[in-house]
């Protein structure tokens, strides 16, 4: 559809936790599809969603949790039928390397654990999963006063790495990125599976190209890259038919 | 020139209140205002210049009102075309002496003075003996130097009336004498009427065609050289003793004769 030589620029709004993996993914995609340049806009899922509500010219929206994408779908911000879960993650309990006493959730009640870092359940997906998991185990009431709520999951990781807290909840992918400086104490079963949904933005003019990128995320190549960064395979398939109605975004 | 002043203004400062009620008129081109410290001389002249707005009354030059409370006339200071020498000089601290003096001559938004304006600045600096100070800033001047710069700045635009608040107070007697002559010459050349506030009897001598005497916010009396034929009022000297004493020493022998007062 594009004149030869002219580059199509695809803008992907992706959750901050995908930053490193998506930098590699987009490079791979650009190699595969000449004429398409992919730019990424990283931020918290909530921020990205608000930007799209206010008409930010994104073509693809990648959220770190189901709830945000649900809200986007309800608000008619994404193309119905373009949404898939393309990857998953695990929730892990981590401690500073030397803190070997903590081996599972039960140990968190011990007096040796003064502070537990996690993302803020109100706004950070990792925090939400952690809170749900703790509630299910009946530990939330007891542990809540010890919890330090980070603005992002990375902040929780930071606290653990610097030894400011005795334990923290982060995604498996985060822990993998810092494996020399933190110790994974346990993988915590979550109440709902941790999935990353992706969808084409309703307002986009480049919906066909956007959909192609979504398809690419399903590919073996993309999945391999994601696995390298510590994500868990969790793939749902795209409906056979996706009706595209390109919106009226003008490129800035 | 005919200068008419008839104004009232009340100033408050804490519990203190100062009431200015100045009324006088002068037909002469040389008017001296004279009076005790704090009697309202500076305030009156500021009202003529448009820096202070009286509550009531009228100020007119040659019949044209600069201020008239009843008719709602109140010309802004820049439209009054007066020259005013501030008692504390008010030199612009961020400008050099040359820039200060040339300030009123700057037209539009251009950066430099026109050549003829430059010439004028150079001339007035020469006649006020401040040529060597051209590049200095006000903070680098002595008291008398500041006063001369301020005088030059007030006069350079040939205002339609020149108001001077103690113009020579910081000068030595020799310079004082020379500046007086300079001022008189400029006055004659450009026919600018002068109003001079002073404490110096010699100024009265030179500039006092009309002498206005202030006391306590009021004009106590107006004497005019022209009225010298009028009979002297007795008992007046004792009444305002300080003025009397001063008069005895410096004026009695001269042409001044007090008028009936106001």
């Amino acid at each position: 559809a594009n004149p030869v030589g002219a580059e199509t620029e695809l803008l992907v709004s992706a959750a901050a936790s995908l930053t490193e993996s998506f930098k590699e993914l987009t490079k791979a995609y650009e190699m595969k599809t000449p004429g398409v340049k992919v730019r990424c806009n990283f931020g918290g899922s909530g921020t990205l969603m608000q930007q799209i509500v206010q008409g930010a010219p994104a073509d693809v929206f990648v959220s770190a949790d189901k709830e945000t994408m649900d809200r986007a779908e309800k608000g008619g911000l994404i193309v119905a039928g373009s949404r898939i879960n393309f990857v998953g993650n695990s929730l892990v309990l981590i401690t500073p390397v030397k803190m070997v006493q903590v081996a599972g959730l039960a140990d968190l009640k011990s007096g040796q654990v003064h502070r537990i870092a996690m993302g803020n359940p109100n706004s950070v997906p990792a925090g939400r999963y952690a809170k749900a998991a703790l509630e299910k185990q009946g530990l939330w009431q007891a542990l809540a006063p010890k919890c330090v709520m980070g603005i992002s999951v990375k902040q929780a990781l930071e606290y653990v790495m610097r030894g400011e807290v005795e334990a923290g909840f982060v995604f498996g992918s985060d822990a993998a990125a810092a494996k020399e400086r933190v110790r994974i104490a346990a993988e915590i079963p979550t109440v709902t599976p941790i999935v990353y949904p992706v969808a084409v933005v309703a307002g986009s003019r480049l919906q066909a190209e956007a959909l192609a990128f979504v398809r690419f995320l399903q590919s073996k190549e993309a999945q391999a890259i994601l696995a390298k960064y510590g994500f868990k395979a969790e793939l749902s398939s795209l409906p056979a038919q996706t009706k595209l109605m390109p919106g009226g975004y003008k490129r800035p | 020139m005919r200068l008419e002043v008839d104004i009232r203004k009340t100033l408050h400062s804490g519990a203190r209140r100062f009431e200015l009620e100045a009324a006088f008129s002068s037909q002469d081109d040389l008017t001296v205002i004279f009076g005790a410290s704090g009697s309202g001389k500076s305030l009156t002249v500021q009202a003529i210049a448009g820096l202070v707005t009286p509550e009531q009354g009228r100020i007119a030059v040659d019949g044209e009102a600069l201020f008239d409370a009843r008719q709602g006339v109140n010309l802004p200071a820049r439209a009054r075309r007066v020259g005013y020498l501030f008692q504390d000089y008010a030199l612009f601290p961020h400008l050099t002496v040359r820039e200060n003096i040339g300030y009123p001559l700057k037209k539009g938004w251009r950066f430099n003075l026109l050549p003829e304006a430059r010439q004028e600045v150079t001339e007035i600096m020469a006649s006020f003996e401040i040529t060597h100070l051209a590049g200095s800033y006000p903070a680098e001047l002595s008291g008398g130097q500041k006063q001369r710069v301020a005088l030059a700045r007030a006069m350079i635009k040939k205002p339609s009336i020149l108001l001077l608040d103690e113009p020579f107070s910081a000068l030595d007697s020799m310079l004082r004498h020379r500046m007086r002559m300079e001022l008189l010459e400029i006055r004659q050349r450009f026919a600018v009427p002068l109003v001079v506030i002073t404490h110096d009897p010699a100024d009265v001598e030179v500039f006092g065609d009309t002498l206005v005497i202030f006391a306590d916010g009021r004009v106590e009396e107006v004497s005019s050289r022209a009225k010298s034929a009028a009979p002297e009022v007795e008992g007046w000297r004792e009444k305002v003793c300080w003025r009397a004493q001063w008069k005895k020493e410096h004026l009695a022998a001269h042409r001044f004769v007090p008028a009936a007062g106001i």
Binding site: R39, G55, A56, K250 | H94, W109
Partner: protein
């Protein structure tokens, strides 16, 4: 050597933002400093408010107003077909709002410190109000204005939350130095973060020192 595009972009954005904030800040400062009107203190406080808001929250309100579907943004889009979202103009807008209170407050204090006697003298010497302002008030307030401008510039350069919200964090397009640093810290790449911070600090110090030097040369003799 890390990619310096974000830094370059930051400098441009911060310069524009400071310039705009300067114009508005000085105008409001002059109004509040020279005229006494009902609700003046209130206005003063309102204009300081952007400083109290967490930048992200400020950014949220900015897009509510200026976003394509926003209150003003939708009109902008309808009439001129332009949108500030995800553009560097949007970043300038965010930077301006964030820097404004600093300039406004500093300028107001500076103007209030200028003795009205000098302005009176200029009026008597024939100046209109506009000329008095540009030839007397502004130069005499220079010191305070300069301090305010430096604060505003630094703040605009360092802004992160508000800019991110309006302009996005798009590498090579709207990613400013602050965002790059933030990203590096988030990614745990501390070497990169430290390098970026060092470069950013150096550049900023160089700029501030230069402004200071230039300004004090202009003030020589006072």
């Amino acid at each position: 050597m890390p990619d310096l595009t974000p830094l370059w972009l930051t400098l441009q954005i911060a310069s524009f933002a400071t310039a705009i904030a300067f114009v508005f800040g000085v105008a409001f400062a002059w109004l509040t400093a020279r005229f006494s009107f009902w609700g003046r203190d209130f206005l003063d406080a309102i204009l300081t408010l952007p400083l109290v808001m967490p930048p992200t929250v400020l950014g949220y309100y900015l897009i509510v107003v200026w976003g394509r579907n926003g209150w003003l943004g939708s009109r902008l889009n309808a009439h001129f077909g332009i949108s500030l979202m995800f553009t560097w103009q949007g970043a300038v807008l965010a930077g301006t709002v964030v820097a404004f209170p600093l300039l406004f407050k500093s300028a107001r204090a500076a103007f209030e410190g200028v003795s009205t006697e000098y302005e009176q003298a200029a009026r008597i010497l024939g100046d209109t109000e506009l000329r008095v302002f540009f030839r007397i008030t502004l130069p005499l307030a220079a010191r305070g204005l300069l301090a305010g401008t430096m604060l505003a510039f630094a703040r605009a350069m360092g802004d992160f939350g508000a800019t991110l919200m309006v302009a996005g964090n798009i590498e090579g397009k709207t990613q400013t130095a602050s965002m790059a640093v933030f990203d590096a810290v988030q990614a745990g790449d501390y070497t990169l973060a430290n390098t970026l911070v060092a470069i950013m600090s150096l550049v900023c110090v160089a700029i501030l020192v230069t402004i200071n030097k230039l300004a004090s040369r202009g003030r020589a003799g006072r």
